[in-house]
Amino acid sequence: MNIVLPELSLVVLIGVSGSGKSTLARRHFKPTEVLSSDVCRGWVSDDDNNQAVTSDAFDVLHFLARKRLKIGRLTVVDATNVQPESRKPLVEIAREFHCLPVAIVLDLPERLAHERNRNRSDRAFGPHVIRKQSSELHQSLKRLAREGFRHVYLLRTPEQVESAVITRTPLWNNRKDDHGPFDLIGDVHGCFDELVELLALLGYAPSADDGIWRHPAGRKLVFVGDLVDRGPKVPEVLRLVMDAVKAGVALCVPGNHDDKLKRKLMGRNVNVAHGLAESLSQLEAYERLEPGFNQRVTDFLDALVSHYVLDDGKLVVAHAGMKESMQGRGSGAVREFALYGETTGETDEFGLPVRFDWASEYRGSATVVYGHTPVPEPEWLNRTINIDTGCVFGGSLTALRYPEREFVSVRAKQTYAESKRRFLEEGQAAPVLSAQQQQDDVLDLSDVTGKRLLETRWLGRVTIREENGVAALEVMSRFAINPKWLIYLPPTMSPSGTSQQPGLLEHPAEAFAYFRHEGVPRVVCEEKHMGSRAVVIVCRDEAAALRRFGVADEGIGVCYTRTGRHFFEDRATADALLSEVHQAVTRAGFWEEFRTDWICLDCELMPWSAKAQGLIQGQYAPVAAAAGSMLSLAVGSLKSATARGLEVGDLLARTEHRASLVGDYVAAYRRYCWPVDGIDGLKLAPFHLLATEGKVHTDQTNDWHMQTLSRLAGGLVMATPFRVVDVTQPESEADAVRWWEELTGQGGEGMVVKPQTFVAKGKRGLIQPAVKCRGREYLRIIYGPEYTVDENLVRLRSRGLHSKRSLALREFALGLEALDRFVRREPLRRVHECVFGVLALESEPVDPRL
């Protein structure tokens, strides 16, 4: 006997003890696919035959069955299952996960079971048990279909059991191997003329030989259903689609109208309304021209599959949508959902939209394309898209090109039917925020808390630990800017390897060596400014801010810190700075050049004292004040002691040296402090042109970024000196080292060394996007005034960079991922989880001096 199993089914073996269920299961299924009640008894009680734990053992079995079916694994239940009450929960579980329950019944002669049980030492029950089970089994046989088993296979002889063959078949909706490309067409409703126009626009043409519409590049049509009713040329539409489907160049899922027409044609009693009458009369006329057409239509509609899963599971098509837990499954509920969508009430008692509609709750990774409810414009929401633009109601017929995700549509030639619910008000103002933006007003806590695994393009999976999220939640909630602005957070930056040169802790040689060893021939050296990291987003105008970021009344942009806070406490200063940047961007012609309404820049904002005033006055200056007073009295006292002839020469020399180091330290921090009034005195040095509309500029080299951004210089925006260095050319390196010595000799912070390409991969994957080499004097404010004393330096050289570098990579990958997702117009939660991740990672303990 050939037993055909849908690839996702719950297989229930039914048979008395000793009927050979376990043997059958072992022969045809993987051990992990079989859930045996006896094994569960063993897990619970160490005894496979312990009848006292039956209830707990079945709890375990049902629990495991649920877990497996949830993720779509075929599952076999190996238990006697001869009583209806033992089968009932299994059918319910199968329904819960929208998979088919299949029964395989072993109804073998009773004596066989008696024999087998006698030969088994562990089965200590009498023959009456088998007799009872056997009678229960026979009573059950007739009822199985009614209980909900879609297929029942009956094996009556040992020979049948022996020769049974089990084949697994994919579900009809599984077209994962079909990669398209596709053109998905919204609800046609008999609008044949518009359909033909749209197909032509998409590049399809009827073939000369068979008249079937085909695309020269082999693209495929996918109809989201509701081909019929209301419109003028229902039979023509059906014929075109049926021919294309038959020829294998189109797919079609059924709509509720199609389903109702089918039932009518099959002679069922349905209410002829909502345009069904038009379909019927048109079909009647058509039938006269082409006898047998109605039967063909009936067969076609009857064979339609509720929904399709295409392109490796990345694309799902269903008439009224499909929630994640139902995708690729088959059950009455799935079909119902595909035809009608969520059937709960549309609004609550206050006229508010019910929030539990599937699209706004959708968290799946597959794109879902659907129709069913006419909308003025197709609009993305959580990777779902409704492409029914109400052609039959005078709207338009829309196609979605996949994977391009472009829309192509044609206007309706006329209004063929009146919509009960007006969806196109004359002169109706477009909503201020898109559906996605409205939903993005409130993010969901469950999208950021707990242990999170984030998939990134550049580094694969990045893990965010729960405890780090706890800290980030507070910062994000209490201090961060509006999350709609927060599309990026910058990564931390590691210093170069530690230098062994006398008197130095860092030197460019180590940075160059790092990149050379990773196989990077050219690096870009940029002067490092000592200020505070700032991310600046500027839009062309407030309307663009509203349109693209969904932010209203918050100006034309934002300037925020590396932890996502407003850089300036007062709005006026921020606005003034943004207006300067806006002017610079306009002057440079970036809006046109990048065809964008917004720009996101990674910058350093100076002076340091503008943001770090608290740190300077609370820590840096006080240390200098205390040190100055104490060391000058110490030097005085030691000089007096020397004059008295005491042997304190060494101590005096050392103390005088310390005093001079403190002087250097004061000079070091003072260099980064200057007074600022409003934006007077501020300097902004952009170094990454992170993103513009449709593009994250990771494909450009770092020197491109510097060159491009230098065009913004003027006013408070400054260009940063940089140079490209060939780390395989000693002269080139030596030049750069001299430059670094010059910069740091004048008290500069030092320089940042980056691989020439924005994202660089080395021997073991992603490598540091930037490494800093800080100057000897600058480092006094990091390692303390006296760090250059030999005995201090020796110890400071032992510092581990590993965790800092690992952190920098993870933050880098997450930051870029956030931008990528924003640019791809993904829901805000998908952007936010990455940004939140960067903030969470920042709470990992890493040496703050690095």
């Binding site: 939640l473 909630s477 009344d553 101590l651």
Partner: protein, 469 residues
């Protein structure tokens, strides 16, 4: 760090005998955090000065991370005042180098140890957390003449003002060992920090070094509190041993003081009235399941918990630290499972939609909204009124108009540093009406605290009730 000690007692060089350090040579001593050097810049018949120069190893300080200030504190930083400013390191050096002198023993000239002689101490960088007023309060009762010059933060930037360091000269006539004891105890008290973990033996150190003077010192409570680094348990241990019968318990007094200081709204227990009114509102609507959104340290939670009307109580706050304090105060760890089921404390944020908050009769949002940035109020409104959607929402917030009645509050300032706004009655009511309109609630308002004819009550309350269709 540096300390000099000068005497004009004749012969002044007797200082060498008292300190047991020979003025004729310089000496060095190893300490576990660096090195101490003792030398005499002057040593004549008329005047003798001893200098104690302590070199603290700045790298060792951070790398070995001693002490309670280790994680995240100043000792975590290489840019650190510890090598320069007088601190507990100096006390330890004093005790190590002048151990015998501290006991008052003087072997060579036994009487000299207890002899009151004119002494002058100079400390070039003494941190005075609490200002020079506190410095004087500490030393003047002990008979010192105090001269203190505050050090500017940075001469190049006079607009930054002064640092908390002083160059200090103390003069008194008293036995050297007493002076050393005073310095030993009072330097860390002024610094208000310790470089080592304050343990139980710290109490006996304080009592030993404070013998004979601490009991009578008018600032003894502050001294004990700061010396023991605010370890409340230790402080009360120590104070109990210092207290004369019949005096009030200073620990209790300190607690009351702290509560008072923390609140501009003193003079009337506004907070009590506020919580009382919130409780009344929640009971009034017959709520049995309640959310305390922004529960803080759990004052309202404790009141809710006491009332058996409330069968399910959930406190939410965004700050993990504050939640730990709330759990502490409720003794949550001692709750039975049933109690934990009845009252839960969870980290959450009103900026996010949170499914755990759905299905409650009522929510209290007490003094929370003014901590939200105005642009983010929209997210709060939706997460509470649209998604959590309790039957009743009780919101309280300061009434800005009343601020003119707080004597201690400068005009134009908010009541709390973290307040992002404070609303007038009109502003609050307009917001409340808009929110109730949008989300299908009705709202009524109640004043909390004494109502002023002109400016209203200090706190305003809105009681939102979900409309029934």
């Amino acid at each position: 760090m540096l300390l000099t000690l000068t005497t004009t007692h004749r012969p002044a060089t007797d200082l060498g005998f008292v300190l047991r350090k020979n003025p004729a040579r310089a000496q060095s001593f190893n300490l576990n955090f660096g090195k101490a050097h003792v030398f005499y810049p002057e040593a004549t018949e008329e005047r003798c000065t001893m200098a104690l120069l302590v070199e603290v190893d700045p790298v060792g300080l951070v790398r070995t991370r001693r002490g309670p200030s280790g994680e995240g504190g100043l000792l975590d930083q290489y840019v650190n005042d510890r090598p320069y400013a007088a601190s507990s390191f100096l006390s330890v050096a004093l005790a190590d180098v002048f151990g015998t002198a501290l006991t008052g023993q003087c072997l060579e000239k036994p009487k000299l140890g207890e002899l009151a002689i004119p002494l002058r101490v100079e400390l070039p960088a003494l941190p005075c957390r609490g200002g020079d007023e506190f410095l004087r309060k500490l030393f003047e009762p002990l008979g010192y003449r105090v001269e203190a010059v505050r050090l500017p933060l940075d001469e190049a930037s006079p607009e930054w003002g002064d640092s908390s360091y002083h160059r200090v000269v103390l003069e008194a006539t008293l036995p050297v060992h007493q002076l050393l004891s005073h310095l030993y105890v009072l330097i860390p008290v002024l610094d208000n920090d310790k470089h080592y973990w304050v343990g139980d033996d710290e109490v006996s150190k304080l009592l030993r070094r404070g013998e004979g003077w601490l009991t009578a010192h008018p600032e003894r409570e502050a001294i004990a509190r700061r010396y023991l680094k605010h370890q409340r348990g230790l402080v009360s241990d120590a104070l109990r041993q210092l207290i004369v019968d019949g005096e009030p318990d200073p620990d209790e007094a300190a607690e009351v003081q702290a509560a008072e200081e923390a609140n501009v709204e003193r003079g009337l227990s506004l907070n009590e009235q506020r919580l009382g009114t919130v409780l009344a509102a929640l009971k009034g609507v017959g709520a049995t399941s309640v959310l305390d959104l922004g529960c803080g340290e759990g004052r309202l939670l404790r009141q809710l918990y006491k009332d058996r009307q409330f069968k399910r109580i959930v406190g939410i706050d965004v700050s993990h630290r504050v939640l730990e304090m709330a759990a502490d105060r409720l003794h949550y760890d001692r709750f039975s499972d049933a109690q934990k089921e009845r009252l839960k404390i969870l980290q959450g944020s009103l900026m996010y939609r949170d499914a755990r908050l759905e299905g409650f009769d009522a929510a209290a949002v007490v003094e929370v909204i003014e901590h939200l940035d105005p642009p983010r109020l929209a997210a709060f409104e939706r997460s509470v009124f649209e998604f959590a959607r309790p039957g009743t929402v009780v919101v309280t917030t300061p009434n800005r108009e009343y601020n003119v009645r707080w004597e201690t509050l400068p005009a134009g300032r908010f009541r709390h540093r973290d307040h992002r706004f404070e609303w007038s009655r009109d502003e609050f009511q307009a917001w409340s009406r808009r929110v109730s309109e949008r989300f299908g609630y009705t709202v009524r308002f109640l004043p909390v605290g004494p109502e002023d004819a002109e400016v209203g009550a200090p706190t305003q309350m809105g009681i939102f009730e979900r409309r029934v269709a």
